[in-house]
Amino acid sequence: MRLFRQIGAVTAMNLRSLPQRVTTSLVIVIGIAGVVAVLTSVLAMSTGMIKTIENAGRDDRVIVMRNGSNSEVSSAVSRASMRLIVDAPAVKRDSAGNPILSAETMRLITLHKREDDSTVNVILRGVGRQVLELRPEIKLTAGRMFKPAVNEVIVGKSATAQYRGVSIGDEVRTRNATWTVVGTFVTGDSHESELMTDAETLIASDQRGAFQSVTLMLESPAAFQRFKDALTSNPALALDVLREPEYFEQASKGISRVISFLAYFVGSIMAVGAVFGALNTMYAAVSERLREIATLRAIGFGATAMIVSVLAEALLLACIGGVIGSLLAWVFFNGNTVSTGGAAQGQLIFDLSVSPELMVIGIVWAGVIGLIGGLFPAIRAARLPVAAALRAI
């Protein structure tokens, strides 16, 4: 009880003298605000990305690729394998008895960004005839569906938003062909940043090999194991079978991990800087108050009250910085759209979301930085040799 009263009294005194120490106090606030702003916005990037990826994919859809391929780009599925996949058990069929699947292949085409004209690689995906049944999430928003055999493409909404030359009526080029944009579509997932056309037409245009992957619909999510066993028990096939969400997760694990790592790496380096800033500020705060501290100690106040009061001040300033930093990140980045420039994967477009959780993480970091920075100055205040300090005044 008396200890709390001591701590409360000393802390209140410190805080009341804060206005006289505005300039030094700002160092800690601004430094930490910067760290937290950067940390939360980069983390917002990786969580935005993970969220986009998690939304993609359905449990009853399966992607089949060559054994050991990490992505569609490096995969190939021969027409012989195709026939076995088509006849595999548990594949859902339409009213006419045809399996609902899409054998796909992709090319990278070069487009220009609207904002700075920089070039980016974008995926042109060749899809099967039943793609709309397989992927009911594809909705045309303007124009019409491409027709096979006549070099037409449709363009995802975020691709239209980001790149020049992909509006309806525009033409895009692959190495051996020119394609006319006839429609735009939305999907709500990462396919929105792609262009789509008929797979057979795309293969015929450059005679480059077979399909790269097959995506198909199962009778039910539970039928997955039956389907997988049927394909993988045949060693001649050498195929990998993944549920669609698993595939998306795996394909993007690398990059979202890199971004998270980057967030914490950059965040940590900046945090170290901010700790020194906080250290400086709090040492200055303690030196300016040496006489008060010595007087209070002489009167009989304990070391604990000194430590806690310095830490409380550091914590308060740091949390102010943390709140400012996360609000900055929120104001400037929340809801922004960002795209990765990963060439091999094509572009992935996603929303930055500076969520309340991220803001809390940022403020917690701020608090930790403040406490670490305040610790040594607090210890100095507690260890102050009272007699010598009173003499020095």
Binding site: Q6, S17, E292, T295, A298, I299, G302, V386, A387, I393
Partner: protein
Amino acid sequence: MTAIVSLRNVKKSYLRGKQTVEVLHGVDLEIQASEFLGLMGPSGSGKTTMLNLIAGLDQPTSGEVVVSDKRIDKLSRGALADWRARHIGFIFQFYNLLPVLTAEANVEVPLLLTNLSRAQRRERVQTVLQLVGLADRAKHKPNELSGGQQQRVAIARAIVADPTLLVCDEPTGDLDRQSAEEIMNLLQALNRTQGKTIVMVTHDPRAAEYASRELHLDKGQLAHDARRVA
């Protein structure tokens, strides 16, 4: 008469660089309850050092320091802080008031270390502010008060928790002559009417006149009983 403070063969050395310098060379001293002791001596003779040992701000290198029948020379730093809160009232040359607090809040500070309720604390603060003649300045900050007034607030703070001993290091060192006289009259009144035991270090012979006993310290040694007033 009972001795309220006794020093027995107290030595104090400081480390200066790699050298140990002895500042007090075996001081023996008894201070009786309700005495007003004036401690004089040239600069550097060890007056502040001795006062700090009596007040439990510092520890002797050897010897015994007994205050109110308790040996304090071996207490830990934490225990000494608690002990000072109960037994010592400090009056400093430069007042050492807390600049952000009003006069009454400054006076209240030592009471935050007691179990008194808020109402009890307020009552005590009013009483001592009246005693030092500053009841009308209770809401003023230190920088709104003259040096003499600040020192009176400091005296109020020193006596508010009713300590065993008042220790003053050059209490008039920063004041003009008139304010110094007011302060000395106040200290003398506290000694005479309230029976406060006071140990005061001073350079000023006029201030020393107010003490009931005067001692001289020279090069770390006491010249005993230079003058004793009835």
